[in-house]
Amino acid sequence: SQQGEEDPQALSIQEGENATMNCSYKTSINNLQWYRQNSGRGLVHLILIRSNEREKHSGRLRVTLDTSKKSSSLLITASRAADTASYFCARDTGRRALTFGSGTRLQVQP
């Protein structure tokens, strides 16, 4: 079974609103990564946060990591219809192979 879960499983918002997705995991990590998957572009890397980092930004994305709670969150600000996709957190425990969660399906209504 997959280690950890994303929450919520599905999220529907209006364009311009912010979207927050959460990820919990069970084992220690080297880094945690977020990926986006849609039918057009497949699975694409968004952002990586290392275990000694607490927050990271990339454009409209903000990722936080709390290793004491074994949780991470992804915030997408000012969402666009093109952000409609499934978002996965993926844990790297140090061997570079990733353990993915079950994903959050985000629908951004125009």
């Binding site: 570079r96 990733l98 353990t99």
Partner: protein, 111 residues
């Protein structure tokens, strides 16, 4: 730069038949991965290669799945014989560092 290439994109076979998937990683990427993604789930690692050596194949069903990476470049994943539960998208990825680059995947349907 060219991305990760996979073929075929779609494959339909009957159970107990065999099938093979091909992957060409990004040039210079030493690490190659095969993942299985069942509908509605996240990808699950099947096997990880570093150059042409296996790093992790603990989740590969070795009684029916096999994989090889010739000369540390291209890789093939084979299923023989296929079962209904093997219906999934098979994703190949490569990496130079921590970020993984995924191919478009092969959608396998076993009937």
């Amino acid at each position: 730069e060219a991305g990760v290439a996979q073929s075929p994109r779609y494959k339909i076979i009957e159970k107990r038949q065999s099938v093979a998937f091909w992957c060409n990683p990004i040039s210079g990427h030493a690490t190659l991965y095969w993942y299985q993604q069942i509908l509605g789930q996240g990808p699950k690692l099947l096997i990880q290669f570093q150059n042409n050596g296996v790093v992790d194949d603990s989740q590969l069903p070795k009684d029916r799945f096999s994989a090889e990476r010739l000369k540390g470049v291209d890789s093939t994943l084979k299923i023989q014989p296929a079962k209904l539960e093997d219906s999934a998208v098979y994703l190949c990825a490569s990496s130079l560092d921590y970020e993984q680059y995924f191919g478009p995947g092969t959608r396998l349907t076993v009937t």
